[in-house]
Structures are given as structure tokens and as C-alpha cells.
Symmetry: C2
Subunit: 332 residues, 2 copies
DNA sequence: CTGAAAGCGCTTACAG
DNA sequence: CTGAAAGCGCTTACAG
């Protein structure tokens, strides 16, 4: 009935079932029918395995098999609707395809990202999806040297195919929505402020480009200090806005729900002036429609992104370009 | 420079470095100093390993080693602040302790939970933490038979030690808070409604007990139909409330942010009557303070729960009781 | 049809 | 000090 120090092996079961280890192995991995082992033997082995709490040693099994069917993913955070959803859907979709998903979360730490990638390769992952990685090319280079397929998600790289949101278009649309609402609600048509993210970051820079394009569409110039992309945290957003007390109507483009927390805190502290503020956020939150002043949010299409990523798995394509997946603009 | 079909092994490196496989192994796993191999050999091997994109085959390595240092966790969802946070913190804390975390998400599916648990045991996990499992005892029984330690988190079991939130006390406190605010804001002291969760679920039932205790503290009777615990989804909550249009002041105890989404939708549709509604939620959301009518939220102490769980790892305790971790009541 | 044997890629006790 | 050899627990081609 189990053993504290040593796990049951096929040899233990072979002795108990009076069969050969080969036969036990065949029964346990389901190939016994093909090998024409008797049904009574199979039942005996299965019963004993169950009694002994047998679990195949995946290490030994994988070492011997030619394919691992393991598919790895690194993701910056779980504790975030977007990335949490990606990780969760990834696991479900991998299982649907009879692949074994292993996800690990790297806290946006570049060293940990690389270490985690190496670990997944060590575990014989056949493909590695790097989600929102700060240095995806370093990972892709390593994967390539190890003969492991690599795919970038959310943030693009140059050494492997990438699947990312169409940040530019969605940011442009969101900017227009905010400007429309500033015009209709407040009768104001000035330049918006962009809050959150990092300019060096690919997605932020694509969103800033969309933000600028929308302004250009309307012939509105953006003062330099209106682009406030010095970091993601709620804290950062609040500090940036701390010395900004609007003296009239104002609009903000908020880059992520993390930054939105800071914006909303700032907004709540404005007093009467808060009725002259409109904002929108590039990121979705189910409670978003209840935030006063919030006119809309961009929801990235995680399902489509992963679907596309899975289509790339196992395909030997030379293409290193990024696939752009459209986002959904939710208006409040 | 890498190989698409076959990964580099220590034998490949041994040939290239003109050394024995044993020496290469020692260099690569860091035991070369202990074995007094020359520094020049070590450097040569390391350089070649890097060039070849070598990654140790964890399957082979673990098969040979006596301990895996793998610690597994199953969790119902990532796409949820509470569970996402648990998974994320778990990985970080495991790494801090030089353990290798493997987390897998089971979508609240009892079969998948058990399959995932078996997989983690197959991967030679030394300990398995079952988070919010629907049938933790089935998993614990299997682990026991395989000689793997098992710990329950968030939801208790009877076959392994459990670490859970003090749902009863926190629910009682939250109920008092809502009743206080109903009294002070609305001058109303009637019984509250309990919305969301499942009565059969341990945590829901502990929270209902706390909810009832708070009413008993004040000598308020709770009509039977006020306990609406028929499921977790936002949809369910909204349907339950659909035919309830308050004709006077009212208070709700909302069991989880998922249910809160439905409550908030219902609330928004009430029109003028909405000013006579107060509610609180057992679960935290950073935007919670902006939801009109929301008077407070309970934040579970994930850090403490995991700290306690890690203290149990490797400890051979006969104790199967649950450790209760206090929650934090956030008032708005 | 069925079992013995080889071998997956490592680690490490052991002999030299 | 260093390498050859055994063996971790499986799977499967192969011989009988």
C-alpha cells in the first residue's frame, strides 16, 4: 500500500502480477491490445497498479520516448487579467491538442525569463512560447541552438515568428473614442494625455504611434509633456499626475489597467474638477464601466492570438514577421 | 551549432572537448571543483556547451538523482486575482527555496484536477499543493499511495493538512460592516441577502455561518430566501437578483468578485432605487472602492497562507487539521 | 504471441 | 586526481 521512501515501479508490479516488466509496461501505457496481451493479465496489472498507487515515472518514460509532447510558455504574471487569461487558455488549448503544457511566470525579470526558458528546454519542451518577454531574441537564439521551436506572443522578436495585438489600430480607435466623448460631453477638443507604460517597450510605442495618428487625423498637435510613459505601476501613474490639476476639460489615454488604478485614485481626489475629465484604457476590466469618466476600454483577443500561435507550432516556417491580431474596443 | 533533430548531449561535448563524459557532467553540474578538475578543462567545456546551445536533459538528470526538488500545485484558475496571485507567489516562494515549481490550472473540473495531480506525481513532484480542489481527499489518497506529500490550500480536506482563510470570522465582520452602513447611511436594520457561491462548498458554508452569526449577534432573523448560493458566475448572480426590485433599503453580502460582476450589473439597472442599496464583497478588487454602494471587501492573506503551506513542506506531521489564516477587511 | 535485452542521457560510487 | 561502469525506470525493436 504505497511506500514512503520509494515509489512503485513496473518491476514491483511485475513481481506482484507474475508478469514480465515488458508486459506491465505495455498494459500501463495502453499498447497491450496491440501487443495482444490477454485481457485477464491487463486487468490484473491494472488492479495492482491502482492498489499500489502506481504513477508512471514521467522522467524515465520521456527519456525513452522520442517525443515529449511538452509545450512550454513563459508569462510575466498570472495575477493580471490579460496574462492570467493567456496562461489559462494556453493550458486548455494545449490539452485539447494532446500536448502537455508547462507554464512558468517570470515577474518581468529578464534573468528569470532566460533561466525559465532554459529550464523548459531542459524539460524537453518541443516548443516554447515567450509571452511579453523583455528579451525574446535571447530566448529564441538559445532555443534555436537547442533545436527547439520558439514563438513570441504579445511582444515581438526578430528571431522567431510573433503573434501580437494590433496595438497601433486599437490605440488609434481608442484615442478617437476619447476625443469624441471629450467633444460631445465637454465640448472640448484639445490634445489628450498618454499615461503609463514605457516608451522603449514595443507595445507602448505602437500605442503612442496610434495615439499620435489619431491626433494627426484631426490636426491636433500634442505637447511633448503630454506623453507620460515612465512606467507601468499604479504608483508611477499617480505620481506623474500628482502635480496636474486640470483647470478645464481634459482627456487621458491610459495604457493598462495597472496604470488605471493610479489614474482612478488621482481622479477620485480631484473634487469637482473630476466631472471635466474623460479617459479610456488600453486593457479590459469587467468593472471598468463603473469607473466615473471612463469612456471605453480595449480588450485584446486572447483566443485569436493563441489560436494563431498554435497554428505555428510544428510548422517549419522561415517567416519571422509578426502577425497582428485585431482588438475589440468596448465603449461605455 | 545546434541540431534540428537531436539535442547536444554530454557525449557530444566530451568529444569536442576531448574529455570524458564524466568530466563534462561534473563541469556542467558544478561539481567539478569538488572533483578537482582543472580550471582550463572546465572553461573549455563551458565554452563548447554554450556554443552548442547545450541544455541538460532534465529527464535524464532527474531520473538519476535521488531528489527532484519539484513541487507541484494545482489551482482552479489563473484568470482571477486571488488564484492568480496564489500561483504567482507560489512560484516565487518555491524558487526562493531552491525548489522547482510546476503549477497547473484545472478550471474547477474534478476530473482534470485528479488527472493533473497524477501528472505532477508522475513528474516526481515531492509535494503537491491542491488549491481550491473540489475533491482534495481523492488527490490526497492518491498521493499517499505514491508516497508524495499532499497539502490543501484554500479548501480543506480530511486526509492532509489544510491551510485556509478564516472565512467564518471575516464573513461575520463583513456582515457587521454592511449592516452598520445600512443603519448609518439608510437608517435600515433588516436582514441582508447572501449572493453567490455554493452551499455545499466549504468556504461558502463557513461564510454563510459567519453571515448568520452576525445576524444572530443583533437578533435579526434571516428569511430563508435571503441566502442565494446557487453558483459562482456573474450570470447566476444576475439571474438570482433579476426578479428582486427592492422597495426600500437593502443590503447584500456578495460572495466573490465573480458574483459581484452580476450584482453590479443588477445594481446599475435599478434606477433611483439603487441609492438604497449597500453591499460588501468577500474578495478583493482594486477598483472595488469605485463601485457605488460597495462598502467594503475582504482580502484574503495569500502571503500568509503560502508561508504556512511552505512551512508544512517536508514536515512529517500527522496533523490533518486546517490552519485558519485571518483575512483583511478593507472598508470604503 | 511474448520476454530479454538494449538504450534513452545523465550522475556518482568506485576502482585504479 | 580521473575515467569506466553501473544503474535510475521506462519503451520497444528484436529474437525466439
Amino acid at each position: 500500500m504505497g511506500n514512503e521512501t520509494k515509489r512503485t515501479t513496473i518491476y514491483d508490479i511485475a513481481v506482484l502480477a507474475q508478469a514480465s516488466p515488458s508486459a506491465v509496461s505495455a498494459v500501463l501505457n495502453g499498447s497491450w491490445q496491440k501487443r495482444r496481451l490477454s485481457k485477464s493479465l491487463a486487468e490484473r496489472v491494472l488492479r495492482i497498479a491502482e492498489q499500489e498507487g502506481y504513477a508512471v515515472n514521467a522522467q524515465a518514460s520521456l527519456l525513452r520516448r522520442e517525443r515529449s509532447h511538452i509545450i512550454g510558455m513563459i508569462v510575466p504574471k498570472y495575477d493580471n487579467r490579460y496574462f492570467g487569461h493567456i496562461a489559462e487558455q494556453f493550458e486548455a488549448m494545449a490539452r485539447d491538442r494532446n500536448l502537455f503544457p508547462v507554464v512558468t511566470c517570470t515577474q518581468r525579470d529578464p534573468e528569470l525569463e532566460f533561466e525559465a526558458a532554459k529550464e523548459l528546454v531542459s524539460y524537453q519542451a518541443e516548443c516554447l512560447i515567450s509571452t511579453g518577454a523583455t528579451d525574446p531574441d535571447r530566448i529564441s537564439a538559445f532555443c534555436k541552438a537547442s533545436g527547439v521551436q520558439s514563438i513570441n506572443l504579445d511582444l515581438p522578436g526578430t528571431l522567431a515568428p510573433s503573434v501580437i495585438s494590433d496595438n497601433y489600430s486599437a490605440a488609434r480607435d481608442l484615442t478617437h473614442l476619447i476625443m469624441d466623448r471629450c467633444a460631445s460631453d465637454l465640448g472640448w477638443t484639445g490634445p489628450l494625455r498618454f499615461v503609463g507604460g514605457r516608451r522603449e517597450d514595443h507595445n507602448t510605442s505602437a500605442r503612442i504611434a496610434g495615439f499620435e495618428a489619431a491626433h494627426a487625423d484631426r490636426g491636433i498637435a500634442i505637447p511633448e509633456d503630454h506623453i507620460m510613459a515612465q512606467g507601468y505601476s499604479a504608483q508611477t501613474a499617480r505620481l506623474l499626475l500628482d502635480d496636474f490639476t486640470p483647470d478645464g476639460p481634459t482627456g487621458l489615454f491610459v495604457n493598462s489597467t495597472i496604470s488605471l488604478e493610479g489614474v482612478v485614485q488621482w481622479h477620485a481626489g480631484l473634487g469637482e474638477a473630476r466631472t471635466f475629465v474623460r479617459y479610456g484604457c488600453f486593457d479590459f476590466d469587467p468593472f471598468g464601466s463603473f469607473l466615473p469618466g471612463n469612456v471605453g476600454m480595449v480588450e485584446q483577443d486572447v483566443g485569436q492570438m493563441l489560436k494563431r500561435a498554435f497554428e505555428l507550432i510544428g510548422v517549419k516556417t522561415g517567416a519571422k514577421e509578426a502577425t497582428l491580431v485585431p482588438c475589440r474596443l468596448v465603449k461605455f
